[in-house]
Symmetry: C2
Subunit: 381 residues, 2 copies
């Protein structure tokens, strides 16, 4: 497996991702035990996405903590490319971002890149569609429960008037050669797409203090450019904390994809559909019950176990017990799936209930909350 | 001279421009006698910028007249790159545009490209500077006297929120390869600059009828792209009517340039400075008065005569008499200059007086006039 090729870009994840090699390739830092403990101490609470290294890599997280301890503060920025319905893998970083907001009491900026998803020609989405998805996705994000006075959710095509001058300043510092090298653009890439990185960089400059970006590692190329130009514009280099991808239900290759609906569970799915998809998920078990009892299963490739580990079983001791029991053949693949089905069903039930009530809240995040109001009154230049 | 190289791009005019060859190079059409007469008939009035072929080339002007005669109407769009103070060469197309508006009663959209002039790195202008120039230039444009209910003057960094969605649709149709071929961009060109053509194309789509763009011919490359994509977006191919460049005071090469202040007369100059610059202008006369009386001068290179011909002596018979008399040696170069000085001084005096009063009017053009109000209520998608 180690020799296999894998690809991670903001638009594509292919193959079995070797996260250690990705750290090298991207030039980021692994989160050391020491740094993790320092973050958890500052937060005053443990979080399994950290202790289990689902958030596994970073840039300048230590400096964020320096700033925090010195009273200079920081802010959070993350986003969503609204190209379709959100699945569980999409929402996890938002739940983690909310946890960071709760623990540190900081502002969160959430960008909905309806422009980017329209400009990506391969998707074949109209702007009307990406704008509609931006609204639908925003409801899911609102359901996460951010602080209405400290959270600003904005959609590029709506908020562009407030950020365009600063986007121009960013864009003037980036040439075609650079975005070609970083994103693999070529001469056939449309001029909207080549400009777009400027738009994704701007929110990392929303405050004159350090920005911390919790997001999947595929977004890191933007932050690399940001870090090369931010100081020359009078801002901080952004920090980032990078997550792995929740494995697709179909097995340990690539990431969940809208083109393969069986690979993911969407936030809007009902219990029946959840049960069906998880039952069909890739398993680390043996061909028969008897063999499984005898030889044990492989939790490292068992998707049900992996989902429990990544997110759905927060209790470290319980998840360790599941691993041991599965390896020992004490837990069957079907039993592991049942455990996951129960967790996912409950999670979605609660999420969906909050989403039902989220419309009002979304108005606060987008327009009428304290931070949103401030943001609509500002132009970044 | 015919073999000499010349360059005409939106950012550079060099050498002695051969306008016939430019028509071939750009693939535009010369304005035939018949088409000119048809335009003048529709306008119900002659204009020397047309009869003298200062506006010498076009795209689809005949279709504009078809539309006009069939009651479908059309609209006018022109603009200004606010990189510094405006000179006489800059304002002439605006006076012509106003004439078209007066004759046809149509809407005029005027774009101030503060973004473009910032993105052009060679200029070294800050965004604050181009925005300040946008305001200063807008006052000069307001002094021209457009119809306050049918004219919208807008500045890209202010109006972007209303046009960004449509700019994205335009941008998705244009790739790097294309803007490289049309504008000579390369891998070092910044990504704001390569995106910018989308921003300049959008106003040609402001109404669902034909747009006529009166502007200097160097802007034509944008319209070429526009014409290749407009119909696929559900809009009309734009029409254009192209002007020659008012010759620099320094002689018949290139165009007037901010880097050579002696080459141009700025709209803010006082009579003393006007007199001094015109006295120093390139002349088509002989070295001595005696030789001039004997051999006559060359009006084709005499800048004073050329300026009278291009704009400042509207009377066709008078200007023809000046040419003959100069050629015959009856008028000395100094006399020709005195005639021009009087005309330019009077023109500037009147323009400056109108500019003094233009602030109030500019508010109508930008925000509070009938068309402006409509435009601020619209988002182009």
């Amino acid at each position: 497996m180690a020799g296999e090729e894998f690809v991670v870009t903001p638009w594509k994840v292919e193959g079995v991702v070797d996260y250690d090699r990705l750290i090298e390739r991207f030039g980021t830092q692994p989160i050391s035990d020491e740094l993790m403990e320092r973050l958890l101490r500052a937060a005053g609470e443990r979080h399994h996405l950290l202790t289990r290294r689902i958030f596994f890599s970073h840039r300048d997280l230590d400096k964020v903590l320096d700033d925090w301890e010195a009273g200079r503060g920081f802010f959070l920025y993350t986003g969503r490319g609204p190209s379709g319905p959100m699945h569980i893998g999409h929402i996890i970083p938002f739940y983690f971002t909310k946890w960071l907001q709760d623990r540190f009491g900081v502002n969160v900026y959430i960008q909905l890149t309806d422009d980017e998803k329209f400009l990506e020609e391969e998707r074949g989405l109209s702007l009307e569609e990406t704008r509609r998805w931006a609204y639908e996705n925003a409801l899911d994000i609102a359901a996460v429960g951010f602080d209405p006075d400290k959270t600003f959710i904005f959609q590029d095509t709506e908020y562009i008037g407030n950020i365009y001058p600063l986007a121009l300043k960013v864009a003037r510092k980036i040439n075609f050669s650079w975005v070609r090298a970083v994103f693999g653009f070529n001469h056939q890439t449309n001029i909207g797409m080549t400009f777009y990185p400027a738009i994704q960089i701007v929110p990392s400059l929303f405050e004159k203090r350090r920005c911390l970006i919790p997001a999947a590692i595929d977004q890191d190329p933007y932050w690399r450019i940001q870090r090369d130009i931010a100081e020359s514009l009078g801002y901080y280099k952004t920090a980032a904390i990078h997550s792995k991808f929740l494995p697709p239900l179909t097995g340990p290759t690539g990431k969940m994809s809208a083109s393969k609906p069986e690979s993911a569970i969407y936030l809007s799915e009902d219990p029946k559909s959840v049960r069906k998809k998880i039952w069909q998920a890739y398993s680390g078990g043996q061909p028969t019950k008897e063999l499984h009892r005898k030889l044990g299963g492989n939790p490292d490739v068992d998707v049900a176990y992996q989902w429990l580990y990544y997110f759905f079983e927060p209790d470290d001791r319980k998840v360790e017990q599941l691993r041991e029991d599965y390896r020992a053949g004490k837990i069957l693949s079907g039993e592991m799936k049942e455990i996951l089905i129960e967790k996912v069903t409950k999670f979605l039930e609660e999420h969906q209930a909050r989403r039902e009530e989220a419309e009002e809240k979304l108005r606060l995040y987008k327009y009428e909350g304290k931070l949103a109001k401030e943001m609509w009154g500002k132009t970044y230049e």
